[in-house]
Symmetry: C2
Subunit: 143 residues, 2 copies
Amino acid sequence: MLIRDLSRAAGVPASTIRYYERLGLLQAPQRSAAQYRLYGTADVERLRFIQKAKRLGLSLTEIGQLIALRAGGTAPCQQLKAMVSSHLQQLDQQIAELQALRQELATYHSNLAAQLTDDATAPTETFCQGTICGFIEQVSYDA
Amino acid sequence: MLIRDLSRAAGVPASTIRYYERLGLLQAPQRSAAQYRLYGTADVERLRFIQKAKRLGLSLTEIGQLIALRAGGTAPCQQLKAMVSSHLQQLDQQIAELQALRQELATYHSNLAAQLTDDATAPTETFCQGTICGFIEQVSYDA
DNA sequence: CTAAACCTTGAACCTAACTTCAAGGTCAAG
DNA sequence: CTTGACCTTGAAGTTAGGTTCAAGGTTTAG
């Protein structure tokens, strides 16, 4: 299988396949007489593995660690559990932050919409009082 | 005011101040005889404006657009409203995606936790059946 | 037999918002 | 009068996950 076939089979660009090989996520494949990379079905599996692990939010570095563990003869599931647990925490924090921002932004937008008409020719100057924009200058600075 | 004073007054590193100047977010300041940048209180205001706009989730590029509008004599509030509106939409989508992933990851983690004990010496091999890790290889590929 | 469509490599480029570095000038304290 | 803390510039490095490019070799269809 040439790199384009692997690319099609796994839905990953050839450039990305070569990139993964450089990162050590894929083994260096066999070569044809003309130095073309030759792949087998195990490589399709490996690429799919990487795609799935990415879907779980794992970084390429983390995926590399799992692969390395397995290559060293250890089942990487305990490690995986720790990674997933850590990602869950990060996700919770990130969601909380985004929701807080969303809430703030929504209030802010209502405020803006109530004071500004959609008419582009309206005298917004009356409302936008500030050095650059009073609506921004009202924003609190901390947090 | 020297750059370090502005830096302290606004809580922004001197390197970032020079960076903002290059981006056009801050006007080129006056210079001392030795070419040191000299700032006034308006620059403190401007930097605080930038910090506040960043708090609203605006990019430096967007902030630059607002500043440019004001410099051109137009109140940038309508533009701001559009930016905030667009960011709200993006935020909603991002939150929805993260929540879906969180849900999936939580289920996945329960599954993992139920089958793996915390005992590092446990025979995880029994459970982790797969080329690299059966738990990952079960993950669905699409979406 | 030639032109298109591949393949190879290493290096450079991309985003965003900075930070760091190198090499040099300035200024205040002791 | 020197040491150390600052200032200047332009360029390069950072992160992550790739993509694009240049220059060259190969393979295949017509």
